[in-house]
């Protein structure tokens, strides 16, 4: 075993130990969540329930003699409003999980009084947070796929329409900027601690601007601009365009994907920068142990 390093104890700084930190955090998170099977099940059904509400609204309007399919097609490009809603609510679930899981982890560590202990360990912070966000990333992707498949059966949606590979690519690339957003939510929790209601609100703001239940083209110009500055909006539209007859924002898939890649390059760096700046400030002013 290597000798003690000043400030790091017996911690050996190598690729192996770095991966060890990352994988331990990841493993711990999955082990903990495996104890809450009900919560996992809920994750599968939530997007279906969310999608059911506007779908039933559409069905009720249709039974009044209105051609909702045509109306929906005129605005969005597709008459399949059920698939449109299900994709919207499934991607919303991805956003919710990515933002909340990181925030929830921080908050739980604060309340349990273990955050400070984690912070004073010689393990690199980005590896610990990387483990948590990696866990959120995997959980969100699996939740999306399973809830979409299950929802397709419930609503009688053709699962094999459109380009599924492209849709998966939009989701996977779209998760990267969300990774950055999750750091920002983490910083918010560090700063204001009891941030549940604000996070809830922000999640609804995101869902509003990413057009979960409606195309953002119905929004006024300035709101549409705000919506298009949110990476999840591009991810949702990309998945819809890949699977349904909805058009891409830039007309071609590669330009839309390129835009998400730009977000993917900027948001994680920006998010991590904000998180680290907040963390430093907390350490100087009140410490990490307060909650």
């Amino acid at each position: 075993m290597a000798g003690p390093i000043a400030g790091l104890g017996y911690y050996e700084k190598s690729a192996r130990t770095s991966f060890g930190v990352f994988s331990s955090v990841l493993k711990a998170r999955f082990r903990i969540v495996s104890r809450y099977k009900g919560a996992l099940l809920m994750e599968l059904f939530m997007p279906i329930v969310f999608a059911a509400l506007p779908i039933l609204l559409g069905v009720s309007i249709a039974s009044g003699g209105v051609d909702v399919g045509q109306n929906w097609k005129d605005t969005t490009g597709t008459a399949d409003f059920k698939a449109y809603m299900l994709i919207g609510s499934s991607t919303f679930m991805v956003v919710m999980l990515m933002t909340w899981l990181v925030g929830f982890w921080l908050r739980r560590e604060m309340v349990s009084g273990t955050l400070e202990s984690v912070w004073v360990s010689p393990a690199k912070k980005y590896l610990i947070i990387g483990g948590v966000t990696g866990y959120a990333l995997i959980r969100a992707f699996v939740a999306f796929v399973l809830s979409f498949v299950l929802g397709s059966f419930v609503f009688g949606i053709n699962l094999f329409q459109g380009n599924m590979l492209m849709a998966a690519m939009f989701i996977l690339v779209g998760l990267l900027p969300l990774w950055g957003i999750s750091f920002m939510f983490g910083a918010l929790i560090l700063r204001i601690k009891e941030a549940d209601s604000i996070i809830n609100l922000l999640q609804w703001v995101l869902s509003f601007f990413m057009g979960v239940f409606f195309p953002i083209t119905v929004l006024p110009g300035f709101l549409r601009l705000i919506a298009q500055s949110f990476p999840p909006t591009w991810m949702t539209n990309g998945v819809r365009a890949a699977l349904l007859d909805v058009s891409f924002f830039f007309e071609t898939w590669y330009l839309d994907l390129a835009m998400i890649l730009v977000f993917a390059a900027v948001f994680p760096l920006m998010g991590y920068g904000i998180f680290i700046a907040t963390e430093r400030r907390m350490k100087k002013t009140q410490g990490m142990g307060m909650y």
Binding site: L56, G58, I198, W204
Partner: protein, 286 residues
């Protein structure tokens, strides 16, 4: 202290009369109001969230309809159902889930050792959020009313009568949830979430009942008393024939019975579970 200063066995100098019940309610309500006042951002966030949800459904409805004509009646159906949904959500979370919070904080057992009236204790949990919900409902109604150019509002007094008994009925559901929370502990959050969505869909709170498949309508929705509360409340205000039973009078009778019986049955179940938990010594366990 009681009139004669009698010391009751197990109750000390506590007065078990109506006065004590009222003061327990008042003190506990004051405590929840103080607690809530410490989180002003939370109030604003809840209100903004409410408007966000409404806006999302309204925009979806506009795209479905292709134009804004006829939006007023549809908005009425959505918003009036949404009002009951808001009361339901807050009662479920505040009564049901606050018991869980007391367990978690370790104050539930201390509360039960005090001679304070348990009914007042339960009811007081919704006082603060109930009052805030009323404010939010009025504000949301005003905004939607302005946006759609006037919501239908036919017999407001009768609708308020139905709303009152629907809310007391919802309180009963809250008591039942609290009873189950005492037993379920950590799974309480999941139960409340599931119930919230169950009622949202099967009581057709955001859409007319005829959107539901016949099997669900006949074998689920019609068997939930709250469905009649939703149906009669909005059909009275919108001025249309109720969907579940064509005679609104019969629906109102069901709602009144629900409003009276549900809290009684719910409280009975709560007391039963509470006694069981006390006998087992599991009240403080979490």
């Amino acid at each position: 202290m009681s009139a004669g200063g009698t010391i009751h066995r197990g109750f000390g100098l506590s007065d078990l009369g109506l006065r004590q019940t009222f003061y327990t309610f008042l003190s506990m309500s004051k405590k929840t109001v103080v607690e809530f006042s410490r989180y002003p951002v939370s109030f604003v966030a809840t209100f903004a969230q409410t408007l966000m949800i409404l806006a999302m459904f309204m925009l979806a409805a506009i795209v479905f309809m292709g134009s804004e004509s006829g939006l007023s009646e549809l908005a009425g159906i959505m918003v009036y159902g949404f009002i009951l949904n808001m009361f339901l959500i807050f009662v479920l979370w505040e009564i049901g889930f606050s018991i869980r919070e007391e367990q978690y904080r370790g104050t539930l057992e201390s509360l039960y050792l005090s001679p304070a009236n348990k009914f007042s204790n339960l009811i007081s949990r919704v006082f603060a959020i109930g009052s805030w919900t009323v404010v939010m409902v009025i504000a949301a109604l005003a905004i939607v009313n302005y946006y759609v150019g006037g919501l239908p509002a036919n017999d407001v007094m009768l609708a308020l009568f139905v709303l009152f008994f629907s809310i007391t009925g919802i309180l009963g559901i809250g008591f039942v949830v609290s009873a189950i929370v005492l037993r379920l502990k950590e799974s309480a959050e999941l139960l409340v979430s599931v119930l919230q969505f169950f009622f949202m869909i099967f009581c057709a709170m955001f859409f007319p009942f005829y959107a539901l498949p016949d099997e669900i309508l006949n074998y689920v929705s019609r068997w939930i008393p709250l469905s009649y509360g939703v149906d009669s409340f909005r059909s009275i205000l919108v001025g249309q024939t109720p969907e579940l039973i064509a005679n609104v009078g019969i629906e109102i009778v069901i709602v009144v019975l629900f409003g009276i019986l549900s809290p009684l049955i719910g409280y009975f179940l709560y007391k039963y579970n509470e006694r069981k938990a006390r006998l087992e010594g599991s009240l403080a366990e979490y």
